[in-house]
């Protein structure tokens, strides 16, 4: 675990009056949000509320229509390996084995082969998939694929992890198995985590703080309870 977890401190992510949207009409308007270094912020919203849009903007995949997004004070202008993203649909490259998928961010960083192979194996074991290194994504279940994505995202020691409903496509039982594993893995990193979900219970279970997306914008709930969140939505 040594190499993989000596991550730098988590990023502070700031949204300053950000309006986001594809084409005409913003999906989210005038969002102000401060995400503290190292926290796990869960963002709850109904489908179509702009949760994924918010994450894509934080990742640098979608430039804001108005306003600024800052990572540790520096404006976000594009994707960066500092801000890893985990997609709801599995973003694994289907022609690469589990091992080669997890190695990818390290290969991009030009980590020497032996070193990246060792680090990738460590991360695969960490998410409970030791022995599956040489399998192709199509040979894995949805839950396993999401764990490979987690290992791939964390392998390069990002300072923020953006998770877009990673368990959204899983059945309830598989989801219940993934959540503790995720918490366990995240405990060892100091990365800031933004976790988007439409599942209120999942948000309560995983988040240090909880934000809700409503038609009025994004708001952090100080005293989040199930009832409060449901009422907000």
């Amino acid at each position: 675990m040594t190499t993989a977890t000596t991550a730098a401190a988590g990023l502070r992510l700031t949204l300053e009056r950000v309006t986001l949207g594809y084409g005409r009409g913003g999906v989210l308007r005038d969002v102000d949000l401060e995400i503290e270094p190292g926290e796990i912020l869960t963002v709850v919203g109904s489908s179509g509320s702009g949760k994924s849009t918010l994450l894509r903007a934080l990742a640098g995949l979608l430039p804001p229509y108005r306003g600024r997004i800052l990572a540790d004070g520096a404006e976000v202008t594009g994707p960066s390996p500092d801000r890893a993203m985990i997609f709801q649909e599995d973003g694994l490259l289907p022609w690469r084995t589990v091992l080669r998928n997890v190695e990818l961010p390290l290969a991009i960083r030009k980590v020497p082969r032996d070193e990246r192979r060792r680090a990738a194996r460590e991360w695969i074991a960490r998410v409970g998939l030791a022995g599956s290194e040489d399998r192709l994504p199509r040979e894995l279940s949805g839950g396993m694929r999401q764990r490979v994505q987690l290992a791939r995202a964390l392998a390069a020691a990002p300072r923020a992890v953006l998770m877009d409903e990673p368990f959204g496509a899983l059945d309830a039982q598989t989801r219940a198995e993934q959540q503790p594993l995720l918490l366990d893995v995240l405990r060892d990193t100091s990365a800031t985590v933004v976790f988007v979900t439409h599942d209120v219970d999942e948000a309560l279970l995983l988040g240090h703080r909880i934000a809700v997306i409503t038609s009025d914008g994004v708001r952090i709930l100080a005293e989040a309870t199930r009832e409060r969140i449901v009422k907000e939505l």
Partner: protein, 285 residues
Amino acid sequence: MSAVRTAGPRAALDVPAPAEPPRPRAGWRGWAIRIASPLVAAGLWQLLTVTDARIWLRFDRLPSLDEIAAEFAAQLGTRVYYLDLLQSLIRILTGFGIAAVAGVTVGVLIGRSRRAGDVLTPLLEAVRPIPAIALVPIAILLFPTDEQGIVFITCTAAFFPIMVSTRHAVRALPTLWEDAVRTLGGTRRHVLVNVVLPGVLPGVFGGLSIGMGVSWICVISAEMISGDFGVGYRTWQAYTLVDYPATVVGMITIGALGWLTSALIELVGRRATRWLPRAAKEGRA
């Protein structure tokens, strides 16, 4: 085929794809029919040619099976048969090889870069509707030797299907994979090498298959028009010399070569795209 359609990013469910009902295997009866069918056709051919049948269609001048077999056996013992074969193969592999590299390169370029598309698309679309074999006069004027002209025709013929299918495959690529690589710190070059090139392979192989087919059409036609070697030349020469058994032997040879090269592409394609969901099914079957 349901699994193929739902394949890709969306298939993140834990629910296994609905199993297709297994296709009943061909039993001994099925195999017997499969073997009998070509035998009956061959018998019919033999009957019609030996009896010199003229039933509106005229079979009296067509060679019978035994004449063809005897001619084939005789040709297999000659040097010139193999030289022709080799000559045609060299032409097709050169033309097709150049077309494959150029087609994939141009297809990716147009698919990925709007500017490249603006420059190249009008030129390519102007030439594309012209059948490659209609370019023979240009080829003769343009190239110092017939040989190069034939390769040029073959190459042009194969280029378009390969380029077009590559371009479509690039455009059809899910953006998810590109986004994933970019958020891992990947640059345009990383996206090209790690996402675009492997991701378009299934589409590219479709184009290569078609390209190989039209390559053969064109190399044979070009050999019939110009050239002094090759299976196409030899077949046409046999016809003009009224040697009909040799003409048919030439046709069979062309068919066999076409089948072999297509099978080779199919094989390489399957190996290169093992990650596709359909490959899993075939592997299990």
